[in-house]
């Protein structure tokens, strides 16, 4: 919401100009390095830094696919992140709806517990979780360890606390009269949720989905222990470019860029939702 239309004083305009310029530089610097280095020959990136490449080459973009099975990691990351996001949003919507629209015994205990898991240091339950998955696997035959399934379960739970908390806030801002009207019209509580509340909460849900996706896409610690050759994700797989022999900086940069572009593009497309979603969800 803009401030009063009164003309801003010079001092403010200049401060703004300087600040925004500096920030733009700060943000863009690594992006520039990433893009320009990815187009440099190996000799350029392993010698002294130079702003402009001595010659442009797309070689790194061809090589990245063979140095490391990048395509496979990409598919793995995509499957894991998308499934984790979908499941996380579904689970969070149900839970947030229950908390937002119902009174029940243990409600505060539930919300406090779920939120406090946000502060668990990952390292505390890395090994236990791993043991648990293995034991479940041995007892039931459901392969959680080393499979994409186990990783999906893990990541979707990582993003749950923040997602549930955001959506509670968002659902609270959707007028109750709307779903009560739907109930009067003969919808069940679930009908009210799916037909009224969810559509009204799209920005919040998108914001949560973006958050869940990014949590899963970038995670390193659990992925490094819980995946193997066939299920390795990008975040871990990218380390393959610094091999025993040499660090292929130009390939690392090219691969980083290839990995980032879809995420950044999606993120920017959805950013409008993000601001509105956060406005009602986290900020109310």
């Amino acid at each position: 919401m803009p401030r009063s239309p009164m003309a801003a004083p010079r001092s403010f305009l200049w401060t703004r100009r300087v600040l925004l310029t500096l920030l733009t530089g700060f943000v863009l610097l690594p992006v520039y390095v990433m893009v320009s280095s990815s187009l440099k020959p190996l000799a350029d990136v392993s010698g002294s830094f130079r702003w402009l490449p001595s010659g442009l080459t797309v070689r790194p973009y061809i090589d990245i696919w063979s140095t490391v099975p990048l395509a496979k990691y990409f598919v793995n990351s995509l499957i894991v992140s998308v499934s984790a996001t979908l499941c996380s949003v579904a689970v969070a919507v149900f839970a947030a709806y229950a908390v937002s629209r119902h009174d029940f015994r243990g409600k505060r205990v539930f919300t406090v517990t779920v939120l406090s898991t946000q502060m668990f240091p990952g390292i505390l339950f890395l090994l236990p979780l791993f043991l648990l998955y293995v034991n479940i696997g041995n007892a039931t035959g459901i392969a959680l360890f080393g499979s994409r399934g186990g990783l999906i379960l893990t990541y979707l739970t990582f993003s749950l606390p923040f997602s549930i908390w955001m959506l509670i806030g968002y659902f609270d801002s959707v007028p109750r009269d709307l779903d009560e009207a739907a109930l009067v019209d003969g919808c069940g509580p679930l009908g009210a949720l799916l037909r009224i509340v969810v559509p009204a909460a799209v920005p919040g849900i998108v914001a949560v989905a973006v958050y869940a996706f990014m949590t899963a896409w970038g995670e390193v610690l659990f992925a490094s222990v819980m995946t193997n050759d066939t299920t390795r994700t990008l975040a871990v797989g990218l380390q393959g470019y610094s091999t025993l022999y040499d660090v292929y900086w130009n390939q690392i940069m090219a691969a980083s860029l290839v990995v980032s572009v879809p995420v950044v593009a999606g993120f920017l497309l959805l950013q409008r939702y993000l601001v509105t979603g956060l406005t009602a969800g986290a900020v109310k």
């Binding site: 000799a43 392993s46 063979s66 140095t67 490391v68 099975p69 499957i79 894991v80 499934s83 979908l86 499941c87 579904a90 689970v91 149900f94 090994l127 791993f130 043991l131 293995v134 696997g137 041995n138 459901i142 392969a143 360890f145 080393g146 499979s147 994409r148 399934g149 186990g150 990783l151 999906i152 379960l153 979707l156 069940g188 509580p189 679930l190 009908g191 490094s224 222990v225 193997n228 050759d229 066939t230 299920t231 871990v236 380390q239 393959g240 610094s242 091999t243 025993l244 022999y245 040499d246 660090v247």
Partner: protein
């Protein structure tokens, strides 16, 4: 209302089911716990230029094994950054591969977990006997007095790689044989505007390998004979100081190398920026970076005086990779046959040639490929003047604690802070205190 409730139950369980099974695509490759006698899972370490290269090298051999025995080997090349963690988690859960490669310095540590099959006389008999392996390689397969936890697969040794052209330009006719000569040569090389010696200052393992050898040359060890840490004895302190002084006092190692941890020093050497490099079996590595074999010479690592040998004349650790069988394997017979295959003469020649390492199997060493001048240096070093890193249970902690201490000392040296006997001793003291209490 019944139907709504049913719908709610449905939705709730559905989302859970979704969560559990959306994932069904994931394959279970936990590995060896399948009681199937016709398959094996093998974790190979990353020996080649990249994981892809390793697969190219190993896959045809695994197919050969399958043709011979009918056993299919599922290969996974595990990057070094993950290998120890993967083995640890496999040991904890009992769910791991059937056969795996381990760094030979980990042997005693992993032996203590009890996760690896002990190689007693009976097991050794099944792969052709203990006598087939070189004694120096067998020394790095587990704690002394216990049945080995693994079998040597590839052996490697450190050598001094030097750039012939830079040496000629500096008027040097032969590589240095002692550290004093190395420092003196380094000065001349620096006067010609080139860097003298490369080092991986931020890589704890590399640091350990060098200070271990230097300690030997000072007649010292980092552990007492009964296996207790003894990092602050005069010899150990002098060794660490001598190594760090290559940068701090002698200035032959450029300060920038203090932050090297990803083999940048090898790249520097391959690109002709540094004149010398102390490395283990670097030939394949240098070749992959475009350095011709005729451009560099290979010489034994320097000693304090005299020529390499045993005792204080040791000039390399006995480096290498061992192959081990995971105790939980359900296909013990197949796993042993696979180890026999990999340590057989034919495979030993093929694989060690591919990785420019030396076969730990003595009968395979006679192949002419290992008698070429460059490889002969490595072979002779292994045979005459290499020593095994201490085979103690806490080897992993030792590498971390002392290796990091050396890294911090390099950081001091690079920042221009003084590295004194006192400061070295203080760091080592701290490292020793971090070792598990006995």
């Amino acid at each position: 209302m019944r139907s709504t409730r049913a719908a709610a139950v449905g939705a709730a369980t559905l989302s859970l089911a979704l969560a559990v099974s959306a994932c069904g695509g994931g394959t279970s490759t936990g590995g060896g716990s399948d009681a199937s006698p016709k398959t094996l899972t093998y974790w190979a370490s990353n020996q080649g230029a990249s994981i892809a290269v390793d697969k190219q090298v190993l896959q045809p051999e695994l197919e050969k094994f399958q043709r011979q025995t009918g056993i299919k080997v599922k290969l996974e090349v595990v990057p070094w950054s993950d290998l120890l963690n993967r083995i640890l988690t496999a040991a904890t859960s009992g769910q791991g591969p059937d056969v795996l490669n381990i760094g030979n310095t980990w042997s005693a540590s992993l032996q203590a977990t009890g996760a690896l099959l002990p190689w007693d006389a009976k097991n050794f008999a099944r792969i052709g006997g203990k006598d087939r392996f070189a004694a120096s390689a067998l020394a790095s397969t587990g704690a002394p007095g216990k049945d080995p936890a693994a079998v040597p697969l590839y052996s490697m040794a450190y050598a001094l790689y030097y750039n012939k052209k830079i040496f000629a330009d500096a008027g040097l006719t032969r590589p240095p044989a002692t550290w004093a000569e190395l420092v003196a040569d380094g000065r001349k090389i620096r006067q010609r505007g080139k860097q003298a010696l490369g080092a991986e200052g931020s890589n704890p393992s590399e640091n350990i390998h060098h200070v271990f050898v230097l300690a030997k040359q000072h007649g010292a060890d980092f552990f007492t004979p009964d296996g207790r840490p003894d990092f602050t004895n005069d010899g150990a302190v002098a060794a660490v100081k001598q190594y760090v002084d290559l940068m701090a006092k002698d200035k032959v190692v450029p300060p920038g190398n203090a932050e090297y941890a990803q083999n940048q020093s090898v790249s520097d050497f391959a690109k002709g920026r540094t004149a010398m490099l102390l490395w283990q079996s670097a030939a394949a590595n240098l070749k992959s970076q475009g350095m011709k074999e005729s451009d560099y010479g290979v010489a034994p690592v320097p000693v304090q005086s005299g020529s390499p040998g045993t005792g204080t004349q040791v000039n390399s650790m006995a480096a290498g990779i061992n192959i081990a069988v995971f105790k939980n394997t359900h296909n013990l017979d197949g796993a042993t046959r696979f180890v026999k295959f990999m340590t057989g003469d034919a495979e030993q020649k093929i694989l060690n040639k591919a990785y420019s390492s030396i076969p730990p199997v003595t009968s395979a060493q006679s192949d002419p490929a290992f008698a070429a001048p460059a490889t002969a240096v490595l072979r002779d070093t292994l045979a005459r003047s290499a020593a095994a890193l201490p085979q103690v249970v806490d080897e992993s902690q030792f590498e971390t604690a002392v290796g990091t201490a050396v890294k911090e000392l390099f950081a001091d040296a690079a920042a221009g802070r003084a590295v004194t006997t006192a400061s070295v001793k203080a760091r080592l003291q701290k490292a020793q205190q971090q070792m598990p209490a006995k």
